[in-house]
Symmetry: C2
Subunit: 374 residues, 2 copies
């Protein structure tokens, strides 16, 4: 039996039972029927095939509207508390795939206000600067520069605040405490903040003066925000946004979520080749204590961080992934070989990514909502 | 002994004991020593002489700074929930006097967000429009059109929000509940709102990059906001704003506070002469049931709404006021005469005010902070 776990937008601890989490949150599984409906739009993304994006709210409703010609707007975001790591870009890659597949506009929200409010020692200068750095990574992934708008809360607040106020007026303290676990020590900005995270879900509708569906692909840890957001939508005359949720990207230490609080278990998009080699070299694997034992008994890919990295991000080919799993279990391949191969893959990826990241500086100001500048 | 009473920024009920209220809030009396210091700057305003502005926080500190050549910025405001009545303009008149006397800049804040959040059926369109109407009344009182800036929260939020976030981060839920009496039914926007009311106290300092003292003359019902504001100031590197507080303007019904919930006991700046006559005619007085009895026993000006209107606003001459009081007590003057005289005074005032109010439309957009337009 899994130990108990906590998943909130600000804290992920324990050994996460994702089925139980979806049950607790009340989200629906992406079942075979829904997968085959999604397949109707073209090949399934590897993160759907593998159950990494595994749970949803109202995805069918969003697709029904799409089929009727009412395109959704895509919305995801990032709390700019530090440099971008692989755990952040995993769902962003999925968003990019959705944008391409469905040919839709997108809001990418950077919540500099949130990170200022929730991180004791953060300044607004820090979180705003970090939003710029994070946005470069987002752009480097190839989002459509014309169809994607970057929202920065403190810069776009004039348009956002009236919508946030309407949301805030519909959420009482009792609900906020129940949904987010706030207590008497929580600051009053943090209590209000969820209203700002609701805004991009309603923004396109507000600007168009008619209901535009919204689909939000993101980590399931964000569900409390969108549960609150969905609850208030009908009362404000908006359509409820749909969500498609992924699991957390694992840390190299074997933890369930890659976290900046453990930099050695975290690969940043700005890491150099030597750093990557060092971090992957120290990763937790499913190997045995000796080569002999591993050749005899085999390794365990299920607990192996290296295998998870291939599973979540770096091995798109299901056949090759199965092959790797078999070779591990049979003792045919050893941890050192897997580590070397993953290091190579990550470094190839990062080399290209870092080039695109530099080029993103030329277009970032063409992509800001309402034309703000850093 | 006075009945119990409640005074918060959103509710004033019961028979207010102003000395006890100041004690509960922890504000200091404006004593003879302070009055004589104030007299050093020129004649005392009638509202100071009569103890209508009766309590303060750090007024001495603000004056010390002023004496050193560090001028304060004046700040007051209005929650635009309805049309302006005499109860609103009473402290505004005092603000105008302070502006002239000390030759200082001023922020006049219209909290359209607050009134939207706290009034169940208000829309943001309503509160924004009402802010325009109220601002005309403010301008009609003769504030310096160059030195006075109108802040409208939803319009100026881009500059205000980062300051509000810094304030909000320093106020926890426990404090907000204790200061404002919030409970589980309070919406999360209302809980955050006080941060926005703190902003004008720090805005001049923020924009100048150095500490500029701030003096806030307003009703004592606003003290909870400024208590919270003062508490966070040092931690943010700002000087604590000083306050000078007045009593609530009485209703014509004899109630301690003029209130829009009782329109017949409330004189609006837009009332016509007939309406004023009718409302004053129905006012609660300190008279007796019959002319004979009043001639014999005299009236009681202490409980009389008509007398209070002269005391608070319409009889600037202390000698004449005392004369009126004596004539009432001796039965020399009857309620009908007093009502007729007050009606005349109010109508003379309103006639001129309404003219100036029309002219205010020509300058209102020159006075908005950062040049916003309604």
């Amino acid at each position: 039996m899994a130990e108990d776990f906590t998943v909130t937008p600000w804290e992920v601890t324990g050994d996460i039972d994702y089925e139980l989490l979806a049950e607790r949150f009340g989200t629906s599984p992406i079942d075979d029927k829904l997968l085959s409906r999604l397949k109707g739009y073209g090949d399934l993304h590897m993160m759907l095939r593998r159950g990494i994006f595994y749970s949803h709210r109202d995805l069918n409703v969003i697709l029904d509207e799409y089929d009727k010609g009412n395109k959704f707007i895509l919305y995801t975001g990032r709390g700019p508390s530090g440099h971008t790591h692989l755990g952040h870009i995993m769902p962003w890659m999925f968003n990019k795939w959705v944008q391409d597949k469905f040919d839709v506009d997108m809001y990418f929200q950077f919540t500099d206000d949130e990170k200022f409010l929730f991180k004791q020692d953060a300044t607004l200068q820090d979180t705003k600067k970090m939003a710029y750095e994070n946005a470069l990574d987002m752009i480097a992934l190839g989002f459509d520069t014309k169809r994607t708008k970057i929202i920065l809360d403190t810069e776009n607040v004039k348009t956002m605040y009236p919508i946030a106020l309407k949301v805030a007026k519909k959420i009482n303290l009792s609900t906020a405490k129940a949904v987010f676990g706030f207590d008497n020590t929580t600051n009053i900005g943090s209590i209000f903040y969820t209203s700002m995270q609701s805004v991009p879900a309603f923004l396109a509708s507000e600007l168009a003066g008619r209901n535009i569906p919204c689909l939000i692909p993101c980590g399931i840890d964000q569900d409390p925000h969108f549960r609150a957001c969905r609850d208030v939508a009908p009362g404000l005359g908006y359509m409820k946004p749909g969500q498609i949720y992924c699991k957390m990207f694992p840390g190299l230490s074997g933890a369930d979520k890659m976290s900046s609080s453990d930099p050695m278990a975290t690969i940043y998009t700005t890491d150099n080749q030597k750093e990557v080699k060092k971090k992957v070299g120290k990763a937790f694997t499913g190997g045995c204590v000796s080569v002999e034992e591993q050749r005899e008994k085999g390794g365990n890919p299920e607990v192996c961080a290296i295998f998870k990295y291939n599973y979540y991000l770096f091995e798109n080919d299901d056949g090759k992934l199965n092959e790797l799993s078999k070779k591990c279990r049979s003792g045919e391949i050893l941890c050192g070989e897997c580590k070397a191969a993953l290091t190579e893959r990550i470094n190839v990826f990062l080399e290209k990514h870092q080039e695109k990241r530099e080029k993103a500086k030329d277009v970032i100001h063409d992509m800001t909502f309402e034309g703000f500048r850093w």
